[in-house]
């Protein structure tokens, strides 16, 4: 009998992880259901809300649009991998200080997206931040405090660099 599941190995948040998955399972489903990483959220399942984004080999990816088998051999950062062991990432700290979350369901996606932006561009303008974050929907905040938090985090990271 053919096995129903495939073996996959990937580096997730700096750790080598091995898992079995069905070909139809998305990366998001495997992160949440098989690996216990429920920080990435499913808001739409079709790549339009950004609540499930992860950084994969330096690129921002909607984990609901990628099959888990496709992630073999890649390096993935989820929201659980953004903070240090003791310290929050400046983005996380600024999201808290600037009250950039209300319900918090979109926050993991915004943090991962914003991290990918600041990894590439340490000094983004407001329009650059808005364009980059247009892939992430937030229904609570109207984005004002999120944009400010990203600006403040970038500033803090530049000062610390």
């Amino acid at each position: 009998m053919m096995p129903k599941k495939s073996y996959v190995q990937a580096v997730i948040n700096g750790e080598s992880r091995e898992f079995l998955c069905e070909p139809r399972q998305t990366l998001l489903e495997v992160l949440r259901e098989e690996l216990g990483l429920t920080g990435a959220k499913e808001g739409c399942g079709d790549g339009n809300c950004g609540a499930c984004v992860v950084i994969q080999d330096g690129r921002l990816v909607c984990s609901c649009l990628e099959l888990a088998v496709e992630s073999a051999g890649t390096e993935i950062t989820t929201v659980e991998g953004v903070a240090g062991r003791q310290e929050l990432h400046p983005l996380q700290q600024c999201f808290l200080e600037d009250a950039a979350l209300q319900c918090g369901i979109c926050t993991p996606g915004f943090l991962v997206s914003a991290k990918a932006l600041l990894d590439k561009n340490p000094d983004p303008s407001e329009p650059e931040i808005r364009l980059w974050l247009a892939n992430n929907l937030c229904r609570c905040t109207g984005y004002d405090k999120i944009v400010r938090a990203v600006e403040h985090a970038a500033e803090r990271m530049r000062q610390e660099a």
């Binding site: 079709d46 369901i105 993991p108 364009l131 892939n135 229904r139």
Partner: protein, 768 residues
């Protein structure tokens, strides 16, 4: 480039009292969990033996269910149970309290699983539980339903037409409060009368009468509905869900399943947005039935399409507004005729809409007719100031046109006619101390209004809006810890930082810091009854319960100090965090260490059902630029004003104002259910529904106005809802200023606006 304010510098603190903790901006207590991905939302739960469910939904907007054959689904490997309305049974009928309104039990039950007929596309018909979600989803497709499609109605005009298809055979119109034999789709017609509109209009020098239509829109929370249920072997039902009201879920589910509320325990998970849409139950009774049949915990999670097609949108509406004013700028008469879509079951929020339509104005002569109309769309649910935004779009457009005809500043006209303390609304209620005049004065004085707007295709608009806010029941308990901190337990699910705004009120009483309070939101077995997180009530009412519970702690600790000092408890005073009697003094923290030696632990408790609700008024100034080629409206600058009463945590007050404003902007410019002739929503994805993104918006500047509510110990009014009310009207007025057209239909999307501009260009006189 859009305008970007440096900071939130224009907040106006008009509350007189000085506070230590209130008005500061501590980091929220649940913050770290929410920025690290550790916070557990409804879909994140895992339980031993958990299985998954899926729902079969109607493909038709209106169809009779001739038969349902579940045998092929049940025969599938991995399928553990199938349920239909037959499993739900008939638990009779009565009115069920939903916090912000009530609903017939039979309607609630019918919405959970369709019986006899499906009333909208997406109406749940059956549920399947299986070992895996994928199997459950495949099994759903194998359920054979024989349908007899019926013609559908999706607007109030269609539903009210002679000979229209009827949704509910048993529905009789309630006419002006009386039961009648009238059949059809109008559940109720009611009227508010004040003075004599005929005499009022006879005095008017200027009369404007316009008709408006607003589209169905959705609350648009990012987290889909979910429910996990375990019907345990002892007969106890446990539910984990993302809800605005765990007690409402408990009571409604118990009523639908016809079991005592004491058999149900609801654990509120973190909730990913609600805005009113997560008050009704959809999945909980189905998950419970599937658990009962399988003996396993069952999780159900909606898809985004399910959310759009089967959960409460806000009503589309058809509204006529007529207002008359004298040449000196006095509004002397107003009439409104308002028909709101209830969706598949009655209760459309036309009642609050009718109460709000002229609430901003002190007008002697008013008549408002309201119609609650069922249509083949999902049953509507509350959405942030439900009913008020539709009404304000109509009324504020007409007020703006009157100001234009009279040649007066639109804010001056509003100030001249503004409702104030003692003004009687059309529905008979007399306003207590309110802050509309202060809101309007702040708008007039704001640098935004004082800065002229220049450039082609640009326009500025203003509008105001009102929402009542509610009180309702809340409970809170406090345990004093030996390190001088407190643990605070309350029952209001936290959608936007209310753990903190509640904790701050206890901290203020006890003279400790916000960080020295550990707040938690408890399940329905662990805290007293607490109504929904809705009606802008949590900081007002649950905060009040925290205030009272802290007072209870103070009273008990005075007795402990009295024991230590050998004095009468009446001789102990408490101020600024310190107990004093004569020369003796002990700070709260010091006394907290001595509880064990003075009689044991101290816990405080309070329950409230407060009156003294303070209504909230909001206003917007908005500058737009309309692209003459595409009719796309770009917002250049937006300032939101709101009377919050005392702003407990200003950052989260600003956040409510900004979030509500942007939902109002989406409602005004973009969002709508595109319905096909068959009554099917054609844009049920987030790509096609198109809520505002970060790229669509400028910074949303805020100005909090704090007119203390005399009905609350700290002057809180509640801030969650009024902000959504003015944006569509303000945008319509700005678009008129920019283009000359008056938009009578929401959303004012590019195709609609382009057509209106072309119509004006081809026939400027007719369009006027």
């Amino acid at each position: 480039m859009t305008h970007k304010p440096d900071s939130y510098e224009h907040n106006m603190v008009l509350a007189q009292k000085q506070f230590r903790v209130l008005g500061t901006r501590p980091i929220r207590h649940d913050g770290v969990d929410k920025v690290t991905g550790r916070a557990l939302y409804g879909a994140d739960i895992d339980l031993s033996g958990l299985i998954h469910g899926a729902i079969l939904r109607s493909p038709h907007a209106h169809a009779r269910i001739v038969s349902i054959d579940t045998s092929a689904a049940e025969a599938m490997e991995g399928v553990l149970a199938v349920v239909t309305a037959a499993d739900l049974g008939d638990s009779g009928d009565k009115m069920i309290d939903l916090g912000e309104g009530e609903q017939n039990l039979s309607f609630l039950r019918g919405n959970v699983l369709a019986s006899g007929k499906a009333l909208y596309k997406g109406h749940a018909v059956a549920g399947v539980a299986a070992a895996s979600l994928h199997v459950a989803q495949e099994a759903v497709k194998r359920i054979r339903v024989e349908w007899e499609p019926l013609p559908a109605v999706t607007t109030t005009q269609q539903a009210m037409a002679d000979g229209a298809p009827v949704l509910h055979d048993g529905l009789r119109t309630k006419e002006l409060g009386k039961e009648t034999d009238q059949t059809g789709n109008v559940a109720a017609h009611f009227r508010y009368d004040k003075g004599s509109p005929d005499e009022g209009f006879a005095q008017a020098d200027v009369i404007v009468e316009r008709s408006f239509d607003t589209a169905t829109v959705h609350q648009g929370y990012i987290e889909p509905q979910n429910a996990t249920a375990l019907w345990n072997n002892d007969g106890r039902l446990q539910i984990w869900t993302s809800t605005q009201g765990s007690f409402v879920v408990r009571d409604t589910t118990a009523a639908i399943l016809d079991i005592p509320v004491s058999q149900v325990k609801v654990t509120p998970m973190e909730i990913g947005g609600g805005f009113g849409g997560k008050i009704p139950v959809y999945l909980e009774p189905v998950a419970a039935l599937l658990s009962k049949k399988t003996g396993r915990p069952v999780k159900l999670v909606m898809s985004r399409q399910d959310v759009f097609e089967a959960t409460g949108p806000t009503p589309g509406s058809h509204i006529r507004v007529k207002m008359g004013a004298t040449n000196d700028g006095r509004i002397v008469a107003a009439e409104a005729w308002m028909a709101y879509e209830a969706g598949a079951y009655p209760e459309s929020f036309v009642v609050p809409g009718a109460m709000c339509v002229f609430a901003c104005y002190d007008i002697d002569n008013i008549r408002v007719d309201g119609f609650d109309v069922v249509v083949n769309k999902p049953s509507t649910a509350a959405y942030r100031a439900p009913g008020a935004t539709n009404a304000a779009f109509a009324a504020e457009s007409v007020v703006d046109e009157i100001a234009e005809k009279l040649g007066v500043d639109p804010l001056d006209l509003r100030l001249k006619n503004a409702a104030k303390e003692g003004t009687r609304r059309a529905d008979g209620v007399k306003f207590p101390r309110i802050g509309l005049v202060e809101v309007l004065e702040a708008m007039k004085a704001h640098p935004h209004y004082q800065t002229p707007l220049e450039g082609p295709h640009r326009g500025r608009g203003v509008a105001v809006g009102f929402w009542f806010n509610v009180g309702l029941e809340s409970s809170c308990s406090i345990s004093v810890n030996s390190d001088g901190t407190i643990s605070l337990v309350e029952g209001s699910t936290d959608i936007g930082g209310t753990r903190t705004s509640i904790a701050m009120q206890a901290a203020e009483v006890l003279g400790i810091s916000a960080e020295e309070v550990r707040p938690s939101v408890a399940d329905t077995d662990s805290v007293g009854y607490t109504s929904v997180t809705g009606g802008s009530r949590v900081t007002f009412a649950t905060g009040w319960a925290a205030h009272n519970a802290a007072q209870d702690v103070v009273a008990q600790m005075k007795e402990r100090a009295a024991i230590l000092w050998g004095v009468d408890a009446g001789a102990v005073e408490f101020a600024d965090g310190t107990f004093r009697s004569g020369d003796n003094s002990l700070a709260f923290k010091e006394l907290a260490k001595k509880l064990s030696e003075t009689g044991g632990p101290v816990t405080g408790r309070a329950t409230v059902h407060p009156k003294g609700v303070g209504g909230s008024f909001a206003g917007n100034i908005v500058d737009v630029e309309v692209d003459p080629e595409t009719a796309k409206t770009k917002i250049l600058r937006f300032t939101a004003f709101q009377d919050a009463g005392k702003a407990i945590h200003p950052s989260y007050v600003e956040g409510q104002m900004q979030g509500g404003s942007v939902q109002g902007i989406g409602w005004g410019l973009n969002e709508e259910y595109f319905m096909t002739d068959q009554g099917v929503m054609a844009n049920s994805t987030l790509l096609d529904y198109r809520m505002p993104t970060a790229l669509d918006l400028p910074m949303i500047d805020t100005c909090i106005i704090e007119v203390a509510n005399p009905g609350h110990p700290f002057g809180v009014r509640g801030v969650g809802e009024a902000s959504i009310v003015p944006p569509p009207g303000a945008l319509a007025n700005a678009i008129h200023n920019a283009t000359g057209v008056r938009m009578s239909r929401l959303p004012m999307s590019p195709p609609r606006l382009m057509e209106a501009i072309w119509a004006l260009e081809s026939n400027p006189i007719a369009a006027d």
